[in-house]
Amino acid sequence: MTDIEIKTQPNIEVMKEEIPHLLEEGEIGAILEFVVTDKNGNITEKRVLKSESFVRQFLELLWVNFQNLDYRSGRYCADVYGGYACVRADRRLWSAGGGIGEITRGILVGTGTNVPTINDYTIQTLIPHGTGLGQLQYSAVTFGAPSSDATTSQFTVTRNFANGSGAQVTVYELTLVVQSYADSYVQYYHMVIRDMIPGGIAVPNGQTLTVNYRIQVTT
């Protein structure tokens, strides 16, 4: 096992960078950016690509939200465990702020290689939080505030995954999971984005993977 600590406060100054323009005109989508850095902070790999796969829960939550439906009239929506929750438009709907080591919401990573489908509701093979073999240390999820240029507006969801497992871990799938409430005290988790990266992202031992999902709209 390597002595590596997760960054609990990912550097979100990245928001000062130029807004990526990969979406087509009129698209509402996400840009997926991932960066692998060594223990000295040197970038060993960086890729920016269009996230391809909003899944049905995203549209279903938006549908509930637009109508401000309560739990009596909300929509049954698949949660990450394969059950169904009657989602209501609660103020906590969409909450994605997973804490350190929390693998129920926020950005999650896995090793599944199935091509995403509209009906995917959970990550195929989750990489657990930890320092054991095949595990990554999940930081807290952080957010970059909205910004815009002449055509594009975005905000960013960020999470770091530090590899202290003693061996390389290859990430093939990335998901974004948000929270909902079916009534005042019962919370559910819904996967709203799932991307599969052909070839995977190699995270050598001692290095950290930073994943940015930039949710964008274009004008």
Partner: protein, 379 residues
């Protein structure tokens, strides 16, 4: 990936005209509301009046309501949410906070003469504000439906000689703190000869000032009436009556965030507001229903799974009926959504999408128009 598609159907006497084009313009407000929800943080947005409001994450009051607000939408109805249309073709921007020129709700042909559209007068004890020189007075107001204001009546009396004076009555918007802001949206004046006709009886009377050009007031927006005189002194002034203080019978129009009276001693540079629930200057807004389109409720259709692509979609749609008696040309569409602020238990309205049509569409009298936003996902 997600997309929006705008579909427009015009139901005329000669059949249906259908158009469809990509929605290009979900904007920064939409992204900001999602950000606020994802991160569970308060965030400042610009509402359709151009006022910065803090969108607050608060229990049971979610944001992004396009068919109904979570709780309380002040002084307006569902017409100010959901699908909207307008007549401007100004190029869209991610920072657009409102349509270029929104077409108001109207369910009838405009009247041919002015009627009382809004106003306040109590019959109990009254007080007066003296208006002269740098001493101005104001009263905020909302209208419950769109009003084309032609004139404003003040309940007042005259003190002394106003034969050399000019009275100006104008309407402005207010800012987030209810102070008057911006230029006059409409104004009218009364000359000395007219002012001398105002009673000196302290019981007062209605005095009407006609606006130079009519102006359409819309629900949701908090306006104010400003009254000023170009000189005079305390003995030669207009006395505008107000009242209702301390009397529950005076509770007139508004709950939370009731409208307020105000005065300025420096020609409107700064204002002293009195926001008692039960006080109002006495005024009547005289006008007519504007030319507009009847806004039927916005509805969100159920989720469907058409043969891909797209894999999945729902539509947000609204019917508009032209009862105005004349043709109306549309050049833009938009979506309004509500978001809460816990400070005043109010929801405010934000533009979350705006599109300029590739070609204008004219809706003739008695024609029906359906505007649909299809929100789609393709994997």
């Amino acid at each position: 990936m997600m997309r929006g598609l705008i579909e427009i159907d015009r139901f005329g006497k000669n059949g249906v005209e259908h158009r469809s084009h990509l929605c290009r313009s979900f904007n920064r407000n939409f992204i900001s509301m999602l950000y606020s929800a994802f991160a569970q943080v308060n965030y400042t947005l610009t509402d359709i009046d151009g006022i910065s409001r803090t969108c607050e994450i608060d229990r049971d009051r979610p944001l992004l309501g396009v068919t109904q607000p979570a709780l309380y939408l002040p002084f307006t109805g569902q017409e100010m949410l959901g699908v909207q249309v307008g007549s401007s073709d100004i190029v869209t921007s991610p920072l657009d906070s409102d349509l270029g020129s929104r077409i108001p709700h109207a369910d009838a042909t405009p009247e041919t003469a002015n009627i009382i559209m809004e106003g306040v007068r109590y019959t109990g004890m009254t007080s007066t504000r003296s208006i002269y020189s740098a001493y101005w007075a104001m009263q905020t107001l909302h209208v419950p439906w769109p009003v084309n204001v032609y004139a404003v009546r003040l309940y007042c009396y005259r003190a002394g000689d106003l034969s050399a004076r000019t009275l100006t009555v104008s309407i402005r918007k207010t800012d987030g703190s209810w102070n008057p802001t911006g230029a006059d949206l409409a104004s009218g004046t009364a000359t000395g000869a007219q002012l001398q006709g105002i009673t000196t009886d302290t019981n007062g009377q209605w005095f009407e000032v006609t606006m130079i050009s009519p102006y359409v007031l819309r629900p949701y927006t908090r306006y104010c009436i400003i009254v000023r005189l170009d000189g005079g002194d305390s003995s030669n002034s207009l006395r505008w009556q107000y009242g209702g203080s301390g009397s529950s019978s005076g509770y007139r129009l508004y709950r939370y965030g009731a409208d307020c009276t105000g005065s300025s001693s420096n020609s409107g540079t700064s204002w002293s507001l009195s926001d008692s629930y039960h006080q109002s200057q006495y005024f009547l807004v005289m006008g007519r229903h504007p030319i507009g389109l009847c806004h039927y409720p916005t509805t969100v259709r159920t989720i469907s799974f058409p043969a891909p692509p797209p894999d999945m979609q729902f539509t947000i749609e609204r019917l508009f009926h032209n009862f105005s008696g004349s043709a109306i040309t549309l050049r833009e569409t938009g979506l309004y959504a509500s978001a809460p602020t816990s400070a005043s238990y109010e929801n405010f309205v934000y533009l979350i999408a705006r599109d300029v049509l590739t070609a204008p569409i004219t809706v003739n009298n008695d024609e029906l128009l359906k505007v649909s936003y299809a929100v789609q996902i393709s994997v």
